[in-house]
Amino acid sequence: MGFKHSLGSRLFDVFNYGLMLLLIIITVYPLLHVISISLSHADFIALGQVSFFPKGFNIKGYQIIFEKRLLYTSYANTIMYATVGTLLTLLLTSLMAYPLTVSKFRIKKPITIFLAVTMFFSGGMIPTYLLMKELHLLNTFWVMVLPGCISAYNVIIFRTFFQNIPSELRESAYMDGANDLTVLFRIYLPLSKALLATFALFTIVGHWNEWFSALIYLRDENRYPLQMFLRSIIFTQQGYGSSEQATEMIQNRQINPKNIQMAAVVITMAPILCIYPFVQKYFVKGVMVGSIKG
């Protein structure tokens, strides 16, 4: 930058940097606030005096949360849903996308149309619910994993990605007697590690944050994912005050219900917050891959 910056330009810079700092504060403040509320003394919370940092150290909120059995079952459930769901998504999406790159595949076009239709039409909430009921999938593990594991959008992105792999590789593998399954697993998938990693991350986060399908399809709270546990803590009276000990502590003003609620938020958000800085660039890559028109 060999040019002299005018006064106006410098003023703009000051304004712009100030604005960006403000954005950072607005973004980070709620997260800090949640953490400090979870750790603050009940009286300071009630007076609304807690802002950036905890006031009067207090970890009783965490103690109460950690005594809840449902925290552990829901954590384990979410991990299971995320693991199985992500593996299925990657496997079935790759399997479905690969044949669509073979130009001579007989039903390539019908399959593409078959998938594309689902991008514009859906039966909606009620018919889908009735179907799950009909199939006896309500309140099962699979209802959280199977229905969402294939999406037309993902298949199209995978197909586009696979199409960029030179077809000579495939042809020479055929020469060596490989079949299409071997070609996919030995050649295509190893060359698509970046794609797989990115989509794995998105799918995991999706499962981590999922609550609505659990609300509709699950009855048994032992099958609930983490977000449903959090929901019951934040939005229902019986959520945070269910144990006698908690009720008593709230009455004695030893603890504010917000201690418990915000502790639950922190526990739910912590894993994502911890891995986020390291995997952030993959997420950005994913958006770029997704924006390529299929």
């Binding site: 009630a46 039903i107 399959i111 944050n209």
Partner: protein, 320 residues
């Protein structure tokens, strides 16, 4: 064996190929792995996406579990009439539209402005830092977002502390219907503004840097460069994303609404999605709520069709 002979005669080896028109079965057998690979995905889409499309027929039926969907009595457009004549239902249409328009009007320009401002930052490390921080809220679950919103808007929360400075009486914002739209759209922008910049920043980084240099030599100031170089650079992206968001204007995030609203705020908060959930799943009126859902899908689809036509008219780009 076939491959070997093909290789020897110098033909392109391709197990799927059929030089001379072979019967369907023969080609099917040659491509058996491809069929096998498509099968699981095909079944899942068929069951979980197509069966419900058939199931939507109950919107025109007096659904009887014993008789099944097809066997149940046809009732024509009964439920659609009922919907149109129900003032509470019509309110949900109004709320859905208003919420969609507000989200578009305020939520769409926000990332563009941020991307343009970010583009003006010359200290790359700082720019990177702002980006990393501002993307994060995108990954926070709706339950947490609404939980935080509830905390901030509570009587002893931060919003009321600020309102106090201006001598206002404390209000429990989330239970007052007049604040619902602001809170919904505002928290949406908080969550999405950073993430929304990614595509614009990519478009900006594709702008030719020599353009900026030449413009500087000709004495253009920052504002002029932004207006004549940066803005045109993001124009195509803007148009496509704008079309996509008009197409999605009815697709309110009703799950977020469900966490935010309560009977006191139905006046402004009740949207089609939440109404379908309440009446259908909680109230058990499957046929009626399926009809409402179907109407929403049809109108949404018409929106997508219309916007796609618009895009074809105004730009080279269309969705199909």
């Amino acid at each position: 064996m076939r491959n070997q002979t093909a290789a020897m005669t110098g033909e392109l080896v391709d197990p799927h190929g059929s030089k001379n028109q072979s019967p369907f079965l023969q080609s099917f057998w040659r491509q058996k792995y491809l069929y096998l690979m498509v099968l699981p995905g095909f079944l899942i889409v068929l069951i979980f996406a197509y069966f419900p499309m058939y199931g939507v027929l109950i919107a025109f039926k007096d659904y009887n579990v014993a008789k099944g969907i097809w066997g149940s009595e046809w009732v024509g457009f009964k439920y659609f009439h009922e919907f149109i004549n129900n003032p509470i239902a019509v309110r949900t249409v109004k709320n859905t539209l208003i919420l969609g328009v507000y989200s578009l009007f305020f939520g769409f320009p926000a990332p563009i402005v941020l991307a343009l401002l970010l583009n003006e930052i010359r200290v790359l490390a700082f720019k990177k830092f702002v980006q990393t921080v501002s993307y994060f809220p995108h990954f926070i679950s709706t339950v947490i977002i609404v939980g935080m919103l509830k905390e901030f808007t509570s009587l002893d929360g931060m919003f009321n502390t600020i309102a106090c400075w201006f001598g206002k009486e404390p209000v429990n914002f989330i239970t007052e219907s007049q604040y619902f739209r602001t809170l919904f759209v505002g928290s949406g922008i908080w969550q999405g503004i950073g993430w929304g910049t990614i595509l614009y920043l990519a478009a900006l980084s594709n702008a030719d840097p020599t353009l900026y240099d030449v413009a500087s030599m000709d004495g253009a100031n920052r504002w002029q460069k932004m207006k004549h170089i940066s803005l045109p650079a993001i124009m195509p992206t803007t148009i496509i994303l704008f079309i996509l968001s008009i197409g999605g204007i009815l697709g309110t995030d009703f799950m977020k609404v469900m966490l935010m609203y309560n009977p006191g705020t139905y006046e402004t908060a009740d949207v089609i999605g939440t109404y379908v959930y309440r009446v259908g799943l909680e109230g058990g009126r499957f046929e009626y709520s399926a009809a409402v859902g179907l109407m929403l899908s049809v109108v949404s689809f018409l929106f997508v069709l219309a916007t796609n036509r618009l895009s074809r008219k105004f730009s080279e780009t269309s969705l199909w």
